[in-house]
Structures are given as structure tokens and as C-alpha cells.
């Protein structure tokens, strides 16, 4: 009896052990790798076929992290348009879920390093593109495409600069998001007779008034630390202004400069107004605090507008309002999603066709209203956009454009991950000198200062 029970128990344990190991191992792998894996398989198969016989189906694999509500709709709209124009080319949608592309970038890095590039992939314009894949020599020049499509004067010059390296253009911008936006709950502001703050002074005054009313002044969800980095970068832009801000990333201004410390002080003061459970929330959870009236303000890129209107069904200018973050009124923190052509893609012609659709007025005006961003082209049809989009399109034309640090446009990913680590500590500890020193160390070790 005892022996039988023991055998049974051991068997039970062993079978559970293998089941647990098997499930934890394979689950993670499939979640992360399955989609691109199968896609790349079919891609390589297709391209192998097409080299054998020209009649075989052509294909383009599109790698992105557009899986959220509005952005996925935008991508599918683009794919529909592409299918109408090129019914002979199969589109493979290889999207990897995860906010700000953090998971997707990891999958992309292993595919690029492994010599299995997707047909085209989403990459933020600026350093993420230039110090990453361009410096690694993995991207093709797109100058010929820009010339033949007449794009050179259709995108703002500042923007073309962000996707170029030494005069060679490497990607096509499809949208623009603004990073320095302060969203606020209109009802709370009206009830408390507050006007939306334009300067740090006004921000702190309003925050004090709100706190006295028992309302959380500023919502933050830094479970993923880039949200805290966004608050910091907007404070940097507010204190330093657009020209000096850009010089931080060329090494002309050091990160332990007095002005940076001032920005850190302001950030620290802003963090003193946040919700207590910030570390348990992601950006949507933080935006939700503003939407349901528990918090008054939220600093976030304007994808939060898409979240408010599409997911939460709020009315712009009725339920929520927006304004540039303190002291950044004349600046526009640019986050631009772009697509390029990696080297070693078998069916490069199909990728070219995709990029042409992406860069066209028609393509941009299908994608952007759905995603909640504004078009990168200057000649897009602004009547297709909502009241937020129209005001942002106007701002985009007048403001000085600055690259976002938190989204990899201002500096290499290596520097960004270090800044994120500094912010993770800074949110809690608030040690300005230590943060400035760590930022300076990162600035030196990541090669920003030559």
C-alpha cells in the first residue's frame, strides 16, 4: 500500500514537473516568437519560390508593434489600400504586441542579428534609426525613392534630417506624435476655476490647489519607466529650450549642467504630486485616472488622445483638454514612426511598393485619423482629422521640432535604457545630484560626448 502510494506520488510529481516546465518554456516562446517565426518561414519560402519561377506570389512582410485598438485599425487600413493597388503582392502582418515597441524591438534585434530581416519594419526616426540599424550597415538608401516620388519637399526638412545620416535617407515617416502634451480633466479644472498651466509656476500653483481639494494633481503610471522619462524630457525641454535641449545629445551640454539640475528639480517637484500607486500602473491606467476624474493632469504623448476618444469614448474639448507641457509652448517633441528597407530582403521591389503607399497622401490620410496621429507630409488633407488633430497639424507647422529622448529619437537605445534606470531610482529617491551624475556617466559611456 505504502509503496504504491509512493510510486503514485512520485509519478504525479514528475508528470507535473514536466508539464510545468514544458508549459512555461513553450508558452513564452510562442508568445514572443510564434508570429514572426511563422511569417518569416512563409516569407522565405515565398521568396525562394519567386526566384525559381517569376510567376510565384510576391510578398512583403511588415514588422511593427501596432496591435492596439486605433493603431491596428490604421495598419489594416493601409494594408487594404495596398491590396487594392497591388493585388498580386501578399502582405504579411508581423506585429508584435507591447507598448512603445519594447517587445517588438527585442524580437527585431534577434532577427536582424540572425540575418533574417523582415521586409520592412517600424522604427522611430532619429537616433534609434541612425545610431542603430544605419550605423550597423543594415539599411538601404532610399534617396532614389524620395527623388522618384518627389518627396523631398513634401516632408518638413527637420523631419527628413531625422531619418537621414550623412545626406543619405534611410526611412519613410508615416506619422507624427507629439510628446510634450499635458492632458487634463476639463470638468475638474472648471469646477475648481483653474486655467490650464502654461508655465512651471502655473503648474505648481494649480497642483497645490488641486491637492488641497483632495484630487491627485498628476497621474503617472511608470510600471514601464519610459513614462517617467517623458515627464523628465518635457521638463528638460521646458527649462533648456529647443536649441539647448538638442545640444544635450550632441554632447555640447553636459548632463550635470546647472540647467539640467534645474530640470531635475522641477521634475522632482512634479513627482511630488503623483498618485501613490504609480509603480503598479502602465500609461493607460494613468490616463484612466484623468478620464474618470480621480486625477487632474497627465503628461503623455498624444496617443493618449486616441485612448481617450477611441477606447474610453470621451469628447475632445468637452471631457478632456490639452496644452503643451509647462514652458514648451513653441516646441514640438516629435515621435515619428518610420519604415525603411533592410539589406538582404529578397523581394525588395515589393517593399518599395509598400513604402510608396506609406509615403503617399492617400496612405497617410487613411492611417493617421485612425491611429490618432497627424500626417508626416505637409500637404495632407487636414479636414480628415478631428479637432485635436487639426490643432496639432497647425502647431507642427509653426513649432521648432525636437527629438524625443524617451522614444529613442534623441539618443541611442543604450543611453535611453540607462536614463530609464536613472528615472526608476529618481522617482522614489529624488536625489538630484546623484541623478545628474548618473546621467552624465551614461552620456560619456554611451559615446555622446566624444
Amino acid at each position: 500500500m505504502n509503496k504504491r502510494m509512493m510510486l503514485l506520488a512520485v509519478f504525479l510529481v514528475l508528470s507535473l514537473l514536466t508539464a510545468a516546465c514544458g508549459s512555461s518554456g513553450t508558452n513564452d516562446k510562442t508568445a514572443l516568437e510564434n508570429q514572426p517565426q511563422t511569417n518569416s518561414d512563409s516569407n522565405s519560402k515565398d521568396s525562394a519560390d519567386s526566384s525559381d519561377a517569376d510567376t510565384a506570389k510576391k510578398s512583403v512582410e511588415i514588422f511593427s508593434w501596432w496591435t492596439g485598438a486605433g493603431e491596428e485599425a490604421g495598419l489594416l487600413g493601409l494594408i487594404d489600400l495596398f491590396n487594392q493597388k497591388h493585388p498580386d503582392i501578399e502582405v504579411i502582418n508581423a506585429a508584435v504586441a507591447g507598448g512603445a515597441g519594447t517587445n517588438a524591438k527585442a524580437v527585431l534585434a534577434s532577427r536582424m542579428q540572425g540575418g533574417d530581416p523582415p521586409g520592412t519594419f517600424q522604427v522611430h526616426g532619429g537616433a534609434e534609426l541612425n545610431t542603430g540599424w544605419v550605423a550597423a550597415g543594415k539599411m538601404e538608401s532610399l534617396n532614389a525613392l524620395y527623388e522618384s516620388e518627389g518627396w523631398m519637399d513634401k516632408f518638413p526638412k527637420d523631419l527628413i534630417d531625422m531619418v537621414s545620416h550623412d545626406g543619405t535617407i534611410y526611412s519613410v515617416p508615416v506619422n507624427i506624435h507629439r510628446g510634450n502634451v499635458l492632458f487634463y480633466n476639463k470638468k475638474i479644472f472648471d469646477d475648481n476655476h483653474l486655467t490650464p498651466p502654461t508655465t512651471f509656476e502655473e503648474f505648481f500653483k494649480a497642483a497645490d490647489a488641486l491637492q488641497a481639494q483632495g484630487i491627485i494633481p498628476l497621474a503617472l503610471g511608470d510600471k514601464e519607466p519610459w513614462t517617467a522619462t517623458m515627464v523628465f524630457e518635457d521638463a528638460l525641454l521646458g527649462v533648456l529650450g529647443p536649441e539647448d535641449y538638442k545640444q544635450l545629445f550632441t554632447g555640447e551640454i553636459a548632463f550635470d549642467d546647472a540647467k539640467v539640475k534645474d530640470a531635475l528639480e522641477k521634475t522632482k517637484r512634479m513627482f511630488s504630486y503623483i498618485n501613490e500607486d504609480h509603480a503598479a500602473r502602465n500609461w493607460q491606467d494613468a490616463a484612466q485616472l484623468v478620464a474618470n476624474g480621480q486625477a487632474a493632469m497627465n503628461i503623455m504623448g498624444d496617443w493618449a488622445k486616441g485612448y481617450f476618444t477611441t477606447d474610453l469614448k470621451l469628447q475632445p474639448n468637452v471631457d478632456f483638454g490639452w496644452i503643451a507641457t509647462p514652458d514648451t509652448g513653441g516646441s514640438f517633441m516629435v515621435i515619428t514612426d518610420t519604415f525603411g528597407l533592410p539589406k538582404g530582403v529578397k523581394d525588395a521591389n515589393s517593399v518599395d511598393e509598400w513604402l510608396k503607399v506609406l509615403g503617399s497622401v492617400e496612405g497617410q490620410d487613411i492611417f493617421n485619423p485612425l491611429k490618432g496621429s497627424i500626417p508626416a507630409r505637409v500637404d495632407a488633407d487636414s479636414s480628415k482629422y478631428d479637432v485635436y488633430g487639426q490643432s496639432t497639424i497647425a502647431d507642427f507647422k509653426q513649432s521648432s521640432l525636437t527629438p524625443s529622448l524617451a522614444h529613442g529619437s534623441a539618443a541611442a537605445e543604450g543611453f535611453l535604457t540607462q536614463v530609464n534606470q536613472v528615472m526608476t531610482i529618481f522617482v522614489t529617491k529624488g536625489d538630484v545630484d546623484q541623478a545628474a551624475k548618473s546621467l552624465r556617466d551614461a552620456q560619456v559611456s554611451s559615446g555622446i560626448v566624444k
Partner: protein
């Protein structure tokens, strides 16, 4: 009988077993040991951007890590987590095993209920417990309904306090309170496994032995301490080994449940390795973390292998 069969085999047949295991030997040599060596090599290079750079820089990646606030926190967290997790899992598992071992009714049902969490992946456990222990939506709502004052509710995994918080260079040494939430989740998942192991052990202890002790006038406590615990000793040993290697390599549960946490109170080397390698493109740094983790695990596994090899030989 097998022995006589063996001796009749022609000499050349001795080659067949070697040939049979050769493919897997080669595969393991390349895909396990070869890649360990490659990782070790990368960890000594300057490959800290997307562009591959194999310049030899000695131990500077390791030097960086040991001065790094985040990695120091990781090491503290790993030690604290491992101790709390193992003590709690073993203690709780033993308790459950003793209870189930009472020959109660519906024993199989209870056994299965306790073991069931083990069948889940750590990702599922992480997501579930993230919500249960969320300070605004989870178990705190129940505590509040029971009358706990709002200001005194536990903060679970978002707490940034470290007890007792002795200053140790950049970081504070002690038990990060946030880790306790993670320990609760892992103990929930793994104590059923410990229970099953102990149950097997308990069923292996003969009733005569216990009866004899009782006849000699030993109290139940003495029987437990002097008869049962020593008999369970080998099982505890195996459990410690298995649980430690789980806790040293833990990644998925923390990644899904808390992330690195404010001030890295719930960060572990596995999460740091993933983020610095695949998000920051610091390949050499990631490789260095991998090597340190390997070292930690081997400190534990090698003595175990040695002792079990000895047992096998004798």
C-alpha cells in the same frame, strides 16, 4: 540474466551505445557548452551597441555591473528572495503534507487542489497575482471592507521600503517589502510541489517505526522531530536544490507581475539581463550578467552533482 546476455555480446557491439549517444553529445557540446563559451567570450568584449564590436576589454563589463546600483539591488533581491521563497515553500509544503497525510476524507481532492497551481505557467501566476495584490484594486478592497483604515493598507509590490535598510554603499541592505508580494505568489505556486514530495516521503516512513516510538512513550512532537524529520532529510535536500535553481533563474513571474519596480525593489538579474541586452543593445553587459548567473547556479549544482555521483558509484 542480463549479465549473462551482456557477456555474450561481441566486442564490436560495445561501439553501438557510444554511437547512439554521439548525436546528442555533439548537439549538447555545441548548443550548450559551445554557447556558454561564446557568451563568456562576449562578456569580455566591448559589444555594447547594435554594431558588433569584439574588441577585448577584460573584465570591465563585470566591474561596471558590480558598481551599478541596479545590479547591486539585483544581488540583494536574489539573496533575499531565495531565502524567503525556500523557507516559506518548504515550511508550507511540509505543513500541507502533514495535514493531507492524516488519511482524511477526500484526500485526493485536497491533494489535487494544492498541486494544481503548479500546472500553471509563471506568466499566468504573475498576471493573476498582479491584480490580487494591486494596492488599489485587489485584496486591499477586502481589507478595507473589513474595516482597515485606508492609510494603513499594505502597499504590496509597490512599496519601496527596505527593512531594516542598512546603508550598504549606494543601495540599502535588508528585505525589500515589495518582494514579499512576489514570494507569496511563488509560494502559492510551488508549495503544492513541495507537499507532493513530502507526501511521498511521509508514505515511505513505516508505521511500525512511529508506533514503536509511541510505545516507548514519545510525544507526538518528539515523534515528528526525531522520527519523521530525519527520514525526510533527503527530500528536503532535493527540494532545496530544485527550488534554489528556480529562484536564481526567475524571470517570467517577475516580468509579468511587477517588472523591475520603483528603485529596483523587485528586480532580478534575469530581468536586467533581458532589458540591457535586447532593449539597450548592451550585449556584452548582458553576457556578463548571464555568466554571473551561471556561476551562482553552478555554486549550488556542482556540489549536488558531486555528491549524487558519489552515491551512484558506491
Amino acid at each position: 540474466m542480463t549479465r549473462t546476455k551482456h557477456s555474450r555480446l561481441p566486442k564490436s557491439d560495445a561501439l553501438i551505445p557510444v554511437l547512439m549517444i554521439l548525436p546528442s553529445l555533439i548537439a549538447i557540446a555545441i548548443f550548450v557548452y559551445g554557447f556558454i563559451a561564446w557568451t563568456g567570450y562576449i562578456s569580455l568584449t566591448d559589444w555594447n551597441t547594435l554594431v558588433r564590436n569584439l574588441d577585448f576589454v577584460g573584465l570591465s563589463n563585470y566591474a561596471f555591473l558590480f558598481q551599478d546600483f541596479r545590479f547591486q539591488s539585483d544581488l540583494r533581491n536574489t539573496v533575499v528572495f531565495t531565502i524567503l521563497f525556500i523557507v516559506a515553500t518548504i515550511g508550507f509544503g511540509l505543513l500541507l503534507a502533514m495535514l493531507v497525510d492524516r488519511r482524511i476524507r477526500a484526500e485526493a481532492l485536497f491533494r489535487n487542489i494544492f498541486i494544481f497551481p503548479m500546472a500553471l505557467s509563471f506568466i499566468v501566476t504573475g498576471v493573476v497575482w498582479q491584480w490580487i495584490l494591486n494596492p488599489t484594486t485587489g485584496v486591499n478592497l477586502i481589507l478595507q471592507a473589513l474595516g482597515a483604515a485606508k492609510g494603513h493598507l499594505p502597499k504590496w509590490y509597490i512599496s519601496t521600503s527596505i527593512v531594516p535598510g542598512i546603508s550598504g554603499g549606494q543601495i540599502e541592505l535588508g528585505i525589500p517589502i515589495a518582494l514579499i508580494a512576489v514570494v507569496i505568489a511563488t509560494v502559492w505556486q510551488m508549495s503544492g510541489f513541495a507537499m507532493a514530495m513530502y507526501l511521498a516521503g511521509l508514505r515511505g516512513i513505516s508505521d511500525e517505526l512511529k508506533e514503536a516510538a509511541r510505545v516507548d512513550g514519545a510525544s507526538e512532537w518528539t515523534v515528528f522531530r526525531r522520527i519523521i524529520l530525519p527520514q525526510l532529510h533527503p527530500i528536503t535536500g532535493s527540494l532545496v536544490i530544485m527550488l534554489t535553481h528556480i529562484s536564481l533563474k526567475i524571470f517570467d513571474l517577475i516580468y509579468a507581475m511587477t517588472g523591475p519596480g520603483a528603485m529596483f525593489v523587485t528586480d532580478v538579474p534575469g530581468v536586467y539581463m533581458f532589458e540591457t541586452t535586447f532593449r539597450g543593445n548592451h550585449y556584452a553587459q548582458g553576457a556578463a550578467i548571464a555568466m554571473i548567473m551561471l556561476l551562482l547556479v553552478s555554486l549550488l549544482i556542482i556540489p549536488y552533482l558531486k555528491s549524487s555521483l558519489k552515491e551512484g558509484a558506491s
